[in-house]
């Protein structure tokens, strides 16, 4: 399989160690397909991750997130297609690629019979960090992952939150330019989730991170860009905002007012650009409406004037932003197909 020439221009960033001077996305996945027996786990998955980016890998359970990540880390070979990390084909240079990657599997496997320090020393040594550098590396990740007060304890005795941090520390111990985290916050309590999220965010900038999750707020809080995977295929890709506007066909507004529901509805519906007004009921003397309007058309001033025209008093008027949940459900339910931004030519290369 020919390795395509590195792209000129594009991002001027110098990618990770051992590949200095070359440019291009740090992770490139093209036409990745994996079958388990006859069952396709993923089909023709393609995406890119630029240096320093945090990519959210979104999808329902069983969509193929873990499979894609396992191929990226060199754990398993794809049935077809290929993956490059730092301009190296994972299948052709597995050992070199593995040196560039820190990986935390979904189940966060750890040697439960070792102490935190011994475990991190062992894993660092296996990653080729030797001598005095190893002691420093372990001290650094113990510090940055907040493991200072449990460093000499046996991992099997730690709480799930601390184990998750040990897993993260393990992935960071050789200071890899690429981090692949498979559902790093799964099974944690809300406080622990926030801690781990902050930890991941603190790694931003220096590292390229691919993070899978099915928790939607996590994506909007942590990630720059998302790839939505559904039934083994890329259902959507892009920055969260762009995806939201791409999926949304019309603007949705909430109008609350005190007055006669019938009169209000009639006046609101008469505003130019408004397609549909539906009543959301009444509470505390207020009536609430959901107004659907032409996308991109500013109808709020007219709506605001329509309320006094119906002898009502406006209490609230706001534009509803499509939440990630809505977005996700729409993409997954197939209500809206977002064309994946895939360079078909290079995918066939």
């Amino acid at each position: 399989m020919a390795v395509p020439a590195p792209q000129a221009g594009g991002h001027g960033n110098v990618i990770g160690r051992n590949a200095e001077g070359r440019h291009g996305p740090l992770i490139r996945v093209e036409g990745l397909t994996k079958h388990y027996g006859n069952v396709p786990a993923i089909q023709d998955i393609s995406f890119r991750v630029e240096k320093g980016e945090i990519l959210g890998f979104l999808g329902p359970n069983g969509a193929g997130k873990s499979t894609t990540m396992r191929i990226l880390t060199g754990f398993m070979p794809p049935t077809s297609g290929s993956a490059w990390v730092a301009e190296m084909d994972v299948a052709e240079h597995p050992l070199e690629v593995k040196r560039h990657i820190g990986y935390m599997p979904e189940s966060n496997p750890l040697y439960l019979d070792m102490t935190v320090t011994a475990y991190l020393h062992h894993m660092a040594a296996l990653k080729g960090v030797s001598g005095r550098a190893r002691g420093e590396a372990v001290a650094r990740v113990v510090d940055s992952c907040g493991l200072g007060n449990v460093a000499s304890r046996i991992i099997g005795h730690l709480s799930k939150g601390y184990r998750q941090r040990v897993g993260l520390a393990q992935s960071l111990v050789n200071d890899p330019p690429v981090l692949i985290l498979d559902e790093p916050t799964s099974g944690l309590d809300p406080a622990q989730i926030i801690e781990i999220r902050n930890l991941i965010r603190s790694l931003k900038g220096s590292r390229t991170i691919v993070l899978s999750t099915h928790i939607l707020p996590e994506v909007s809080m942590v990630c720059d860009r998302v790839v939505v995977i559904h039934q083994g295929r890329v259902a959507a890709e892009g920055p969260i905002d762009a995806l939201a506007t791409g999926v949304q066909k019309e603007d949705i507004l909430r109008v609350s007012a005190i007055g006669s529901a019938e009169a209000l509805r009639a006046k609101l519906a008469a505003v130019p650009g408004v397609r549909q007004v539906s009543s959301l009921g009444a509470s505390n003397g207020e009536v609430h409406f959901e107004v659907r309007a032409e996308q991109g058309r500013e109808v709020r001033p007219d709506l605001a004037q329509a309320v006094p025209a119906a002898s009502g008093r406006l209490t609230e008027l706001r534009r509803e932003r499509l939440t990630l949940e809505d977005l996700f459900v729409r993409i997954v339910s197939g209500e809206h197909k977002v064309e994946p931004k895939v360079d078909k030519e290079s995918a066939r290369a």
């Binding site: 396992r70 990986y103 496997p109 019979d113 296996l126």
Partner: protein
Amino acid sequence: MRNVWLICRRELASFFFSPIAYVVLGAWTFLMGIFFSGSFFNYVLISMQLARNPQAAAQMNITPTSAVLEPVFASVSVVLLFLTPILTMRLFSEEKKLGTIELLLTYPLRDGHLLAGKFLSVLLLYAMMLAITLVYPAIVSLHATVEWPVVAAAYLGMLLLGSAFLSVGVMASSWTSNQIIAATAAFMILLMSFIMDFLAASAGPVLAAVLRHLSIGLHLRNAIRGIIDTRDVIFLLNVNILCLFLAMRSLEYYRWRA
């Protein structure tokens, strides 16, 4: 090589952290001790009887080495049949159960190094077990002359036999995430190999020779008498190579299927 040693060191630490090493070492020293003391006192009895009957003594060709140590060494193959599956069962099965194998396989580590490190760890533990039994020739040497070259050949034979047993166990462990199944599979394979000898009794001459050759325990017979037969050495090494090769393939298959 550094990686092999790192893997091996962790396995050894894990053996001594868990009760496995102590259980196996305890069982080993207990059983071997019983065999040795039985053999030793039996020899004392025989030599006292022969002392009263010089004529019979002249006809019998026994030495302290052949009478005391040989039966002890011969019993090793049976003891190993039960103990090696326990030693090897956790090597890969536990990593598969915990999921740590997934992590290891994403480390800059060759499958061969992983396998070699794991195998080396049980081999060193077994060498330690063998070293403990050196007290028996030492005890005999206090009271009689020990033929040390014969003892050396016997130890080489026991090391090779044990190594073959362990490689069967490593292979079985690479098949499954269940330690009990790994131990049972290794035990069954070794037992089948022992039974070959019994089957040979009722087989034709050609088949019997093949069956005897496949009977793993028989390959210790020459070594404990001080004879290093290259056929034995090659057979036992081949068992090692075959089993470790199959274990390697099994790791590769695991990557594909996961």
